[in-house]
Every structure is written in C-alpha cells, then in structure tokens.
Amino acid sequence: MSSLDWVVLFGTLGAIVAYGVWKTRHANDMASYLHGGYADRWYTIGLSVMATQASAITFLSTPGQAYVDGMRFLQFYFGLPLAMVVLSIAFIPRFYGLHVFTAYEFLEARFDRKTRQLAAFLFLVQRGLSAGITIYAPAIVLSRVLGWSLNLTCVSIGALVILYTVAGGTRAVSQTQKHQMVVMLGGMVVAFFVVVMRLPPGLSFGRAVGVAGVLGKMNVVDFSPGLGSRYTFWSGMTGGFFLALSYFGTDQSQVQRYLSGKSITHSRLGLLFNGLLKIPMQFLILFVGVMVFVFHQFNPSPLFFNEATVAAVRGSPAAGAWRALEGRQGTAFASKQQAIEGWQAALDRHDESAVQAAATRLRAAEAETQSVRDEARRLIRRVLPRAETNDTDYIFIGFVMANLPRGLVGLLLAVILCAAMSSTASELTALGGTSVVDFYKRSFRPAASDRHYMVVAKLLTAGWGVLAVLFAAFASMLDNLIQAVNILGSLFYGAILGLFLVAFFVKRVRATPVFVAALLSEALVIATWWTTSIGFLWFNVIGCALVLGLSLGLDALMPRRVPA
C-alpha cells in the first residue's frame, strides 16, 4: 500500500472517531449514555440502523458471493421493507408507550421478570458471541492484506471501538455511524465506477451485463417453490420477513438505535428510511461483485484468491500440480475470450443462432474454469489440510488491492474497517446496556444513583469489548465458528420474536405458559435443526410459530387462579 493510502485510511477513521467523541463529550447520565439523550433525527437513525446491520463481512463477502453465486442473495432482503412497516405500526408505539431502555423491559411489563430475563439472556449469549466474530471475520482478511498479525488486527479494531463507545455511548455510535455509512456507500459507488472503467473500451455496459447474464450471474429473482433452495423470492418474503422482524424488533443492538430518536416520528421514519434504501444498497454491493466477475472474463484471475494459501502450495511438493492447473485455467481463459468475441460479433450481426452457439461455448469454458478451481481446492485440502478452501472473502479485496488507484485503496479499506467498527460499536453498547438494565439494576442494585448505573454501563461495555477481542483472538482455534454463530442466531431469533408477538397481540396468554412455551419451542427448533436439512432462514418462522401455538395451548391447559 502506498503512503497516500495509509493517510486516507487513518485520516478517515481518525476523523470519524474524533468527531464522534467530541460531539458526545457531555454524555453524563443513563439516558444520554444509552439513548443519546433522545436527540437523533430520522436520517441519523436510518443510517445508524443500516450501519449496525452492515458489518465488514457485508463488504468483504457479499461482492465475492455475487462473483461466485450471482445476484440471488438479494432476495434475502425482500421481507425487510414489510418488516419495517410492521415495526413502525406495532412495535415502536409499544416501546415508546412504556419508555423502555431495552426491548426486554416490555416483556416484564406484560408478563414477568423471568420472561424478560430469559429473552435478555438469549440476546446476551448470541450477541456476545457475534461481537467476537464481527471483529474476527474481517481481521482474518485484513491481517493478510495489511501484513499485520491476526491478534494485532483484532486488538486494533477492538480498542478503537471500545474507546469511542465507552467515551460517548449510543450518541457517539450514532454520530460516527452516520459518517461511516456515508464513507461505506461512497466507497462502494467509487468501486463500481472504477471496475466499470476497467472493462475493455469496446465493451458497452449493456454487453458487460449481458456477459454476466450468459454466465448465470444475473439470477436476481427466483420464483421457484421448495424449502431446499436457500434464496428464493418466497424464502426472502417469509423467512427474510421474520428474520428482519426478529432482528430489528427484538435485538437490542437495533432497538436502541431507533429508541434514541428525538420522537416516535423520527424513530419510525428512520426505520422506514432503512426499508427504502436497504435493498438498493445490497443490489449495489452485489452488482459490484458481478462487475468484478465480468472484469475477470477479460483479465486473468488468480486460480485461488487467498495469496497466502497459494504461496504455501507453491512452496510445497505440489507446486508442479498447481502450475499444471494454472495452465489449464489459462487455456479456459483463452477459450472464453474467443467465445466472447464470437458472441459480440453475432450480436452485432443480429444472428440469434450464432449468439446462442457462442453463449454455449462461453458457458462450457466457464464450466472448465470452475472445474479447475474445484481441483485447486482439492489440491489445497490435500497439501494443507487445515487451510480454508473458501476464498470468496478475498475476491473483492484482491481486486481492490490490485486494480484501484492510489488513495482509493485506502478509502476502500476504510470502508471495511468502518463497517467492522460500526456494527461492533452497536453490539457493545447494547450488551452493556442490557447487562445493566435487565440484570444489574433489576436484580442486584435496584436503587443506586443514575451516575452509578452509567459508570457500571461504561465498565460493562468495556468488559464486553475486551471479551469480544479475546473471543476473536481465540476464534481461530475453533473450526467453522462463523457458521456456528450464524446458525445459533437463527435458532434463537424465532422464539424471541414469538415472545414479543404474544406480548403484543395475544392478551389472554399469561406469563408462565409463554415462558414454558419459549423453552419448549427452543428445544423443538434445536431438535428440528439437528435432525433435518431445512434452510436456516425457516427456523425464524418455525420458532415464532411454535411459541405462538404452544403458549396458546399451554395457557388453555394450565389452571387459572380463581380470585378469593
């Protein structure tokens, strides 16, 4: 990286963090610390909600996923706008009506303390684990790219986030996220234009998208039914809707973002702003990945995108086999060039049968490329049994490092670090706040001063931050950790959402039936996950439906006390 890139990277991060700390230097009570003094306007809330959801993995993995799998991941977000409308109508007024600090307080007002603390405990477990992964996942990639040690990268991200989160609380998070989000969106727009400018001069934008289409990358919407396919219109509209409802409605890292609004109107508008912009933003990020794919149809791509792994294979006895695979990939690349030239010439002549023939040749050459990449992965597994053979996260960052001009590399790295910091900051403030409000204040020190709670909240926020960094540092010792944490989240969200839906809409159900129903539902969801192969999105629906059905059934079966 050039010195200009370092200046842009540290200048951007430093300016945002310094602004956040300065702007919120007067946070000196619980309301200021946990909800920013209820001063955020709708656009700050909207950008803050989006920045909380957009982790570094969003910017590292999503373009790579589009490169490999096309645009279909976009359907995952189709249920989100509908969920934002439901939250605005049904959730926000109830939270505001009770003036809650955390979403879980509402459950005590409606049911009892044990139900509130069950939901808060489930949140602390899953979000506590996720905070470590939010730091660890980008640190793996960034440490390799920047040449830093993994632990140094984890500690650097964690320390910076803890600094401004503890100093300024929620308001500092919102204020920094507003600017981080602008950097993130601006950076992706710049990346899009750079990749399009790097396409061959004779290739129109429409033809570039056409090449992506021929090779199956423009598969944005899939209306086919079936539970087996992870991303379809139907799974996005149902599973995605329930996931968004659970995440934005019951996860304190999001709830505290919109409860910090200047008024209920600002909170609602902030969420609806997210409902309007989220899908176009994800479209842009995925489309950048598709354009990088098109770029590599005209410029040779590495056989495997993780350079450190490639270097290790080249230094092993399998170096000869690796060179042979690279030779086959080069031949497939030359075939693609010929097929694309033929395809363009046929389009110019309006010769439909020649267009189809060239498209078939192009798909065959791409299939050969994929076959060579599969063989390369098998070779890596044989030579380096512990190496990660999924290189999706390295595709976009590899393109950035190799092809973006000086200065813009620093900007794109700032995008990724901003994303890591913004989502971690929200998680830490929510973990600290929930620990204080739902456990410390509720069960241990109910009558201390406001200042005492704020100091404890800051200490616990810092404590969760240190735990997250430690967890991130040790995460490399565990296999498939990211996948495990993602599944863990999906297994719990449905039941937590079910608790809130019963609280909101089923007035007759009492506390103990809903508490038992939540425990039984969790057990059933985990058993279903263990014994079937249902896609993880559906567990949000199943868990929620089970809590609703079981709480109604148990409430009817359990005897009611007759007033004396």
Binding site: M30, A31, H35, Y38, M71, L74, F78, P81, L82, M84, V85, S88, I89, P93, Y96, G97, L98, H99, V100, F101, A109, V209, G210, A212, G213, V214, M218, N219, V220, V221, D222, F223, F233, K262, S263, I264, T265, H266, R268, L269, L272, G275, L276, I279, P280, F283
Partner: protein
Amino acid sequence: MATDRGPPGGAPGDDGDELHAAPPFLSWRAIYAIVLGALALQVVLYAALTAIYR
C-alpha cells in the same frame, strides 16, 4: 410533533399525543404505501432483469 420524550420509566400512556403524531410530510399510510410500493417496483424490475439477461 418532535417533542422530547418524558423520562424513562414514566407512566404508560402519558404521551398519547406524541404516539399518534402525524409525520412532517404526507400521512403514515402514504409513507407505508411508498415503502411497500418501492419494494413491489423493485421486485418487478429485478424479475425483468433476470428474464432479459437469462
């Protein structure tokens, strides 16, 4: 609208006016319709994109 809220832990329902406050522009129904209409429009556009570049 846009009044500051009362302190946390206040009695439920003591700010009923704010809970039913109108947005600064349009009506809530119109804003919800815009959000859902934008979703419908995008699905149609993306379906068309999928069909054209199949």
